[in-house]
């Protein structure tokens, strides 16, 4: 197997002292396309947040190969975007260039072309001047994918990117995910649609606070594993003692 893009060293994540992800060990290989699957409350979003560096682990370490800066792109679930803010689709997508132009760098003709290209790649040509407040949910998600394209990251984290998105948009955006995979970028996506996972994602991490199964998708998504995951997440003990592991 190729080098690790992300290495989890006995990672426990959580809020307060309650673990949302418990003692996770393992690696995500560079260039792999991995789905994270599990019931609600299984710690999937928490895990991505921690990989993105937005949540320090309670214990253990998460190692991102090459560091996070400029290499990592993260699309959170229901992005906390102020849709009423007066900026255009073009400006929103242009934010993806931050890693290249930073605080003061100019956006010249070349950058402008790359922004337009990204907008075209997600099928939003003609929407450049529209205020972001006028976009539908699916169009907004397309714009955010265009921004991801511009970030040109080698590690891309997607948290439920297709929730409440129609089939056509999902298919278009999945094409981009395939393209990233073909370009040997590492993609990790939290997903609920197991059909999509089986069709497109070669590797899967099934998690229910504890990792249930991890590896080749077909083997991980067995009926037995899925049932086990559902049972595990239901265990919540208000009087839990300190973890001895």
């Amino acid at each position: 197997m190729s080098a690790a893009a992300i290495r989890f060293e006995d990672v426990t994540l959580g809020y307060g002292r309650r673990p949302a992800v418990h003692h996770l060990r393992g690696t995500i290989p560079a260039g792999s396309l991995t789905a994270i699957v599990g019931p609600n409350g299984a710690g999937k979003s928490t895990l991505l947040k921690a990989v993105a560096g937005a949540l320090p682990p309670l214990e253990g370490r998460i190692e991102v190969a090459g560091g996070r800066a400029k290499r990592l792109a993260y699309l959170p679930q229901a992005a906390e975007i102020d849709r009423s803010f007066p900026v255009s689709v073009f400006d929103l997508v242009a934010m993806g260039l931050w890693g290249k132009v930073g605080l003061f760098g100019g956006i010249g003709r070349r950058q402008q072309a790359s922004i337009e290209e990204a907008i075209a790649a997600v099928g939003l040509t003609g929407f450049e001047r529209r205020p972001i407040g006028t976009l539908s949910g699916g169009q907004m998600q397309r714009a955010l994918f265009a921004r991801l394209l511009l970030q040109d990251a080698s590690l891309i984290l997607l948290d439920e990117p297709f929730t409440a998105i129609d089939a056509k948009t999902t298919a278009d955006l999945l094409d981009l995910v395939r393209r990233w995979h073909a370009e040997e970028r590492t993609v990790v996506a939290v997903l609920h649609d197991l059909d999509v996972v089986k069709r497109i994602f070669p590797r899967t991490l099934l998690i229910a606070r504890e990792p249930v199964a991890w590896g080749e998708t077909g083997a991980v998504l067995s009926a037995e594993n899925l049932l086990r995951a559902r049972r595990m997440v239901e265990a919540h003990d208000p009087h839990a003692a300190a973890c001895a592991r």
Partner: protein
Amino acid sequence: MTLDLLSPFTEFAFMRRALVGVIAIALGGGPVGVFLMLRRMSLTGDAMAHAILPGAALGYLVAGLSLPAMTVGGLVAGVIVALLAGLVARVTALKEDASLAAFYLLSLALGVTIVSLRGSNVDLLHVLFGTVLALDDAALVLLAGIATLTLVTLALAYRPLVLDCVDPVFLRSVSGAGTPAHLIFLGLVVLNLVGGFQALGTLLAVGLMMLPAAAARFWSAEITAMIVIATGIGIVSGIAGLLLSFHAELPAGPAIILTAGGVYLVSLVVGREGGLLWLARPRKHLEA
């Protein structure tokens, strides 16, 4: 006729000084106001304006109606209240708006008390409503300096400021510039309020920030245009307000803010971007 209308500026030096002062205030206050509005901090500006009062009042207690003493005092008090309110909001269960409200009410009461300890009611009126018709050289230099510093700083911090409003999570994932940009912006707010305080007083200092910004929202859906429009409205309100106060013999500060308020009300009704008239007028929907 036009000459007659504008003659106060050609005839009286104090009117020319007031003119320069309000233009400087509008130049800095316009953009700061737009950002306050877009960051949903419109009332924060108001609260901060009251928060600078005890500092300015202490300066007054020590040195009388002295510009440097009141300016430094106001700056210190404003920064302290901003930091304390932010700290309480982060450490305790109290939200930022409640904690800010508590501190500014305390500040306002404290400030008025301090002024009354030494001053007369006239002084109190000056502190509360400003002395735009009595700006001396030092005050004008201060106002111009604040406007310059504000515009340069905003130009430099523009990207992270906008990004921090639109998508803070994204900004945090690509850069650590969000928090410093926010703190610098808060500093600019305090600075502009201290400047406005000299001319318009603690109660109205925020007027040339928020009213033009709120009015501009009804004329554009694009942030750059909004800033330009807000600044323009501020300048026009300043000039018109001064003339109104001169010809109608009204107090100058309130006349300026009333004019800005008038522009806001007109915009609210006829503004192209969601003004009431446009909302009320039934128009056939488009094909696409």
